[in-house]
Each structure stands twice: as structure tokens, then as C-alpha cells.
């Protein structure tokens, strides 16, 4: 198992804030919009640097999506910011008609995704957003795994033409990816090469997959770990190549098992390479209040859940 270490923990949303500032410096067409959550989205640095390129919308997410779509018509590259729930479910039809169907170059940037939003509870913890967004034709869906990757992704989507959903989170987590990485949309990142089982992980579950990989190595299981940061378009080649070698897969995501990364992988395998698969995901449930760690444990999204899923899937694959 390749060794991953970290010297600090940071939140992915701060990676977004840093990336937004850099994207803004690189391209004067980059503008930002926020629905009364500037502090939570870490947009302060961008606003300080480019006050005339920031639009405070107030608590009016539908209007924010529409204004963003309109801004693209004048050549702007708008980044909208609010929590994942209010970025997707609340404004689904606005995104569908004014952004996706109209093919507008809007970057929908969503913080506080998943259970790790924590204490605010289920009203704010969306676990359905990946599904909602990936079903929209032409929408690129990205879920980043740490500060550095989020920063790099934010810069990359500014340079990409087309609507993007960028999903990140609230809690501080290990910073373990390369600070100078080049983020390639739609390209899987090989975290660890292995031969016994493939673990495909996204978002906050990538670090947990690494932790699981280390424990599995101690148990004599050589796990291949792939980070799928771009859920759509899916890097089908990387996934198929790995599972051809290992013969089985565990998918891990902080999302409902319905509609998430796991289902995208299952759809691919069912037509191209039928293989045993286990899902580490929320079992069709809403979340609840609690600390992020407590919730990840209670809802089966911990390191141990990945290990158990690996054992189960290998057994099913007769390994």
C-alpha cells in the first residue's frame, strides 16, 4: 500500500475559496454569486479582491441560478455558492431549464454536502444531489476529496466550457493530495495499485478508503484504490481496466446508494463487465443531527464499513 500522510487538516470548502480567488485572478470573466452564505462558502477573499465581480443575491437561490444563466450570455463565467441542498433540490427546475437545457456555462458550487454537515440535521444534509445532477444531460458532476483537489478542480472548471456541479463539504479532513496537481475533469486518479479488489471512492470517502487500504494490507489484501472525482462523465476506461484485473469492486460515497457513484459504476459493469459489487453509501435514508464522525459511523460510511464490504465482495468473487 502506497503511503499517504498529511500534515494538516482543512475543509474542502476552503479549497474552493482559494481556487475561486485564483480562477478570478486568471480570468477577468470569472464572477461569483452567493445566496447569503459568503462565510460558509469561503468567498471572502474573492469578494475582497473583486468586489465588482461579486453578486450578493440574498436568500433567493432560484433567482441566483437564473441570474447566473443570464450572466453567461454576456460572456461571464459565474460560480454560484450555497449549500448543496439549496444548490440542487431547491432549484432543480431552474438548473434544468435555464442552465442545463440552455447549455449555460454556470458553475454550481455546493458546500456542506452529505452527512458531514453535521449538527444542522437532515433538512440541510442532502444525500441525493449527485443523482439529481448526474441525470441532467450535459451536466458535469464533480465531488472532490480534499482541500488541494477542490482548489485544483475549482480552477479547472473555470477553464472548462459548460455547466458543472462541484460538490464539496464542511468538515476539516486530511490534506493528502498534491498541492500542485493538475486537475483533469473526467480522469480517475489512481490512489493505489493493487490486485485483489478495486475500491472506487469519491469525496470524503477517499481518505477513508486509504485508511481501509492500509488495514486491508495488514490483513494481506492488496486493494486497488481509485478516486473518481468526476462522477459524470465517468472514467469508464479506468474503472473497467481495474476491475478486469481485480474481479470485484466496492464503491464508497457520502450519498444515498440510489443515484450516486455506485449506481454509475453498476450501470457500467452490467453492460461491460458484470462483476460483484458492494456499495458503501447511505441506505436510502435521510440524515440527522450529530457530529460528522458520529454520523459517518451511524450511517455506515466509516473505514470499517469499507473493510467489511471488501471482505464480502471478495467472498462473492470467490477470492
Amino acid at each position: 500500500m502506497k503511503k499517504y500522510t498529511y500534515t494538516e487538516k482543512k475543509d474542502t470548502r476552503s479549497g474552493f475559496g482559494a481556487g475561486l480567488l485564483e480562477a478570478g485572478k486568471k480570468n477577468p470573466e470569472v464572477v461569483a454569486l452567493c445566496a447569503d452564505l459568503v462565510g460558509s462558502l469561503k468567498m471572502d477573499a474573492f469578494i475582497k479582491e473583486f468586489p465588482e465581480r461579486f453578486f450578493q443575491i440574498g436568500i433567493a437561490e432560484a433567482n441566483m441560478i437564473g441570474i447566473a444563466a443570464g450572466l453567461t450570455i454576456g460572456g461571464k463565467i459565474p460560480f454560484t455558492g450555497t449549500f448543496a441542498n439549496f444548490s440542487t433540490g431547491r432549484v432543480y427546475d431552474q438548473i434544468r431549464q435555464s442552465v442545463a437545457y440552455s447549455n449555460k456555462n454556470v458553475k454550481i458550487c455546493a458546500s456542506h454536502a452529505g452527512l458531514t454537515l453535521g449538527e444542522d440535521g437532515a433538512t440541510h444534509q442532502i444525500l441525493e444531489d449527485i443523482g439529481l445532477m448526474k441525470m441532467l444531460p450535459g451536466m458535469t458532476v464533480i465531488n472532490t476529496c480534499d482541500y488541494n483537489q477542490t482548489k485544483a478542480a475549482t480552477i479547472a472548471i473555470a477553464e472548462f466550457e459548460g455547466p458543472v456541479y462541484l460538490r464539496f463539504g464542511r468538515p476539516v479532513i486530511p490534506v493528502f493530495t498534491d498541492p500542485d496537481q493538475k486537475f483533469e475533469i473526467g480522469k480517475a486518479w489512481m490512489v493505489n495499485e493493487g490486485t485483489d479488489v478495486t475500491i472506487v471512492a469519491t469525496g470524503h470517502m477517499v481518505w477513508k478508503a486509504i485508511e481501509a487500504g492500509e488495514k486491508l494490507a495488514e490483513m494481506g489484501i492488496d486493494a486497488e484504490i481509485i478516486n473518481i472525482h468526476t462522477i459524470k462523465p465517468l472514467d469508464e476506461e479506468a474503472i473497467l481496466k481495474s476491475i478486469k484485473k481485480t474481479g470485484c469492486v466496492v464503491t464508497a460515497e457520502e450519498h444515498n446508494k440510489f443515484g450516486g457513484l455506485g449506481e454509475s459504476v453498476a450501470r457500467l459493469l452490467s453492460t461491460e463487465l458484470p462483476s460483484p459489487q458492494e456499495f458503501v453509501a447511505v441506505n436510502d435514508s435521510f440524515g440527522e443531527s450529530g457530529t460528522p464522525d458520529q454520523l459517518m459511523t451511524k450511517y455506515g460510511l466509516d473505514t470499517i464499513n469499507i473493510i467489511e464490504a471488501v471482505q464480502k465482495v471478495m467472498k462473492r468473487a470467490n477470492k
Partner: protein, 281 residues
């Protein structure tokens, strides 16, 4: 003036012919609101707005128009074609398979003149505001126009936009409400009353003007007056009274022709009331 009032009225008459023929041709679509807004749309595209029919999505240096109540696509398509954005013969493909003239306007098929999809109601004002703010960032002095149904104002997103625009001094925006008092299920007064739209918009900080959308002289004057009000710190709202189905006597003033196509006999009756001033497509 690019055209005399008489010339504009003639164009509007042809636009009305196009509308009923298009809706008849596919036996679906929305003639009522389209007919009611024929004069306004003609005034906008043949007199008021500055634009190029060599279509570019960003519309830099051009006035832009956004149709929020996308179901009145027949009038939009007719005016765009008559203005020269695409061949008028293409109007015959309205709502048919493989057409760029979808039931509701869309950018998806790349029809020149369309900058956003609309149809699901209540979204157009936000988009128009965004386009207006982009103009400001680009130091582009052109004006953004938008059209909205009155029933459409029952959608909550409008009120987010109506609150936002004055606060942010979006004063390069002229939004028009097609105030015909009708919606699918009946008169707005009975479905969900709008009460005083003028008072509501004024309370939100808009500069409100009123106009008669079926009097060419009046609507042209109103739009030029609205233009003179831009750049003064407030968005402008043109509360435009129209009669749904205007120009075809049996369609006038009733919600029943909101989304119903005329049969052959009704088409003949309608066309007999509308002069063919340009050539039919």
C-alpha cells in the same frame, strides 16, 4: 422611427397571420397570448431594439430580449423570422419533429435569436437581470428587454427577482408584463388575483409605466419613453394591458384560446380578419 405606425401595424397583421397558421399547422400551441403580444413584439423588433440578425449568443453591443412566458413562442418565432434571423419558410416546422422551432423556445437547437430556454414559468426575469448585469460589467450601454405573463407572476421566483433588481440598481432593464388578466384555468381574478401590480412593483422600487399593448402608437411611445428612463437607478416595468387573442374576434378576451388550435374553418375565419401585408410563409 424606423417604421411608421401604419407600417408597424401591417407587420403585426402578418405576424398574427403567421401565429394562427403556425398553430393550425401543427394543431397545437398557444394562439391567445401570442396574438395579444403581436403588437408589442413587432414594436420591439421593428422599431425599438438595436440588434444584429447575424446572431451571436453574447450579443455584445446589442439590445437583448428575453421571453419568460415561453408558451407564446409563435409570436416570438414569427417576429424573429420576419426580422431576418432565419427564413420565414421555417415557421412551417413549428412544433414538428426535428424542428428548431420547439414548442417552447430553446437554445438547444441553435435557433438564431433565442438566448435561453423558457417555458417552465417564472425564470425569465432572473435571466434578464443576469444579462443586464453582464452588460454593466462589460461597460455595454445596450438595454435588456423581457416579457412576462401576468399569470406567470404567481411563480415565486419572480418576486425574488423583482426584489433584487431595484436594490442592485439594474436600470438597464425594461420588463413588460402582458397584463391580459387571463390564465389557463380562467381569469386571474378568479384563479389567484394579482391585485394591484403597479402598487406591488412600485413598492419593490421599480419605475412603473402603463401602456396599451394593442395600440401600436401607444406601445411604441411607451417603449421609447421606457428607454428614456434607463440609466436612472431603477429598473423599468411596463405594465402593458392587452386583450388575449387580439385581432381574431372569436379568440378575443377569453382564456379558452390560451392553448387551443383553430380548425380549418376557424383558420379561414381568422385569416379573413387579418391582412396579408408581407407574404405568407
Amino acid at each position: 422611427m424606423k417604421h411608421t405606425i401604419n407600417e408597424l401595424e401591417d407587420i403585426a397583421s402578418q405576424v398574427r397571420r403567421d401565429i394562427v397558421r403556425m398553430v393550425h399547422g401543427c394543431q397545437s400551441g398557444h394562439p391567445g397570448g401570442s396574438l395579444g403580444c403581436a403588437d408589442f413584439m413587432t414594436a420591439l423588433y421593428f422599431d425599438v431594439m438595436n440588434y444584429s440578425t447575424d446572431f451571436k449568443m453574447d450579443g455584445i453591443g446589442e439590445d437583448l430580449f428575453f421571453l419568460s412566458n415561453g408558451h407564446i413562442s409563435p409570436v416570438f418565432y414569427s417576429v424573429l423570422a420576419r426580422a431576418g434571423y432565419f427564413e420565414v419558410s421555417e415557421l412551417a416546422t413549428f412544433r414538428k419533429l426535428n424542428s428548431r422551432l420547439q414548442g417552447h423556445p430553446t437554445t438547444h437547437e441553435h435557433l438564431p435569436g433565442i438566448r435561453i430556454a423558457s417555458g417552465s414559468l417564472g425564470q425569465g426575469m432572473s435571466v434578464a437581470i443576469g444579462a443586464a448585469q453582464a452588460k454593466k460589467l462589460n461597460k455595454d450601454k445596450s438595454i435588456i428587454y423581457s416579457l412576462h405573463g401576468d399569470g406567470e407572476l404567481q411563480e415565486g421566483q419572480n418576486w425574488e427577482a423583482i426584489m433584487y433588481a431595484p436594490f442592485n440598481k439594474v436600470d438597464n432593464l425594461i420588463s413588460t408584463i402582458d397584463y391580459n388578466g387571463q390564465q389557463i384555468d380562467g381569469p386571474t381574478e378568479k384563479v389567484l388575483s394579482l391585485e394591484s401590480l403597479q402598487a406591488k412593483f412600485e413598492a419593490f422600487g421599480w419605475h412603473v409605466i402603463t401602456s396599451n399593448g394593442n395600440d401600436m402608437d401607444d406601445i411604441v411611445k411607451a417603449l421609447h419613453y421606457a428607454k428614456s428612463l434607463t440609466g436612472k437607478g431603477k429598473p423599468i416595468l411596463n405594465l402593458m394591458s392587452t386583450i388575449m387573442g387580439n385581432g381574431v374576434d372569436f379568440m378575443m378576451g377569453s382564456h379558452k384560446w390560451h392553448g387551443v388550435a383553430p380548425n380549418d374553418e376557424q383558420l379561414a375565419t381568422a385569416l379573413a380578419q387579418l391582412n396579408s401585408t408581407l407574404k405568407d410563409y
